[in-house]
Structure formats: structure tokens, C-alpha cells
């Protein structure tokens, strides 16, 4: 556990979380959410929980991003607010 790397990843996680709810384009929000999932995966792997990191990378960043994109392509790409 390297605390400088930890701090950097946590900072990027917070930045990604704020960006994902502030951006107007929903496709961009989905991609930022994927980046958030990968950063969480990096965090798990850095803390030594490799199995959880693997699950996060496959499910969080792989499948759920694709399902979000499928939902966006069937509805609208812009938020109203």
C-alpha cells in the first residue's frame, strides 16, 4: 500500500465522480463512468484484492458500460437539466 499512489487514485476517483454527474452529454457520462470503474479496479488491485479488481474490471467497466450505451441509443443522448 503506497499512500502517494493511493491518494492520486482517490483524487482521480472523486474528479471522475463529479464530472460524471455534471456533464450534459450522457454518452460522455457513460465513458467517464467506465473510467471511474477502471480507477476503482486499480484501487482494489493496489490494495491487494486482485479477485475483486478482476470482477470490477469485467463487470463494472465492461458489461455495464455497454448496457448503458445500449440504453442511451434507445432513448435520448442529452439530459434535460
Amino acid at each position: 500500500m503506497i499512500w502517494i499512489l493511493d491518494l492520486l487514485i482517490l483524487l482521480l476517483v472523486v474528479v471522475c465522480a463529479i464530472a460524471a454527474i455534471n456533464v450534459k452529454d450522457l454518452l460522455s457520462a457513460t465513458i467517464i463512468f467506465g473510467v471511474y470503474s477502471f480507477l476503482m479496479c486499480l484501487l482494489w488491485a493496489e490494495m491487494g484484492a486482485v479477485d475483486v479488481a478482476f470482477t470490477e474490471a469485467t463487470v463494472g467497466a465492461g458489461i455495464s458500460t455497454v448496457l448503458f450505451i445500449a440504453a442511451i441509443l434507445h432513448t435520448s443522448r442529452r439530459t434535460k437539466d
Binding site: M1, M47, G48, D51
Partner: protein
């Protein structure tokens, strides 16, 4: 309204950060969670199951109920989505209206 929401979020975050001060240190072998079951799994799992990966041994054997019902939950979710959203193609259009 936004200021109130920010204040609530900041207060909750401060309380959560205050709560983490009582946690044991990261990877502390003397912490209460690591003294009872973890020692047993680390010492006995390879001898009892011949599986070197501890996570697989615990998930597949010692905590088999959890894994089984996790699979059943995913299976039920997929079954529900398919049975609700799947449309059969109407081969003969019977609704004339």
C-alpha cells in the same frame, strides 16, 4: 437549495471520516476480523481442499451457499428480463384493428 445539499454532503463526509479513525490499521494482523476465521483459512485451506488460491477455496467450498445463491440471483434476474422484454414475432397478424 444547492448550498443545503452541499452542506449535508460535507457533514456526512466529515462524520464518515471521523468514523474511520477508530478502524484498525490496513492489514493489521491483530485486528478482530483477522484473528478468528482468517487464521483458520490461511492455515488449513490448502490442506483441506488442495486449492492454492484462497479466494476460490473460500468462495467455492467454505462459503458455497453464498456462491450458489449469487448464481441463482443472477439467473433469476436474467430470466425476469428475458421473460418480460422478449417479444414473440406474431407470425399471423390476428389483430385487424
Amino acid at each position: 437549495m444547492k448550498a443545503l445539499a452541499l452542506l449535508t454532503a460535507l457533514a456526512t463526509g466529515a462524520i464518515l471520516l471521523y468514523g474511520t479513525m477508530d478502524f484498525p490499521a490496513f492489514g493489521d494482523p491483530q485486528s478482530p476480523a483477522a484473528t478468528h476465521l482468517s487464521a483458520y483459512f490461511i492455515e488449513e485451506a490448502v490442506r483441506e481442499t488442495h486449492v492454492p488460491n484462497l479466494v476460490t477455496a473460500v468462495l467455492g467450498d467454505y462459503r458455497g451457499y453464498d456462491t450458489m445463491f449469487e448464481t441463482v440471483v443472477i439467473y433469476c434476474a436474467g430470466l425476469a428480463v428475458v421473460s418480460v422484454l422478449r417479444k414473440k414475432k406474431s407470425r399471423a397478424p390476428e389483430n385487424k384493428s
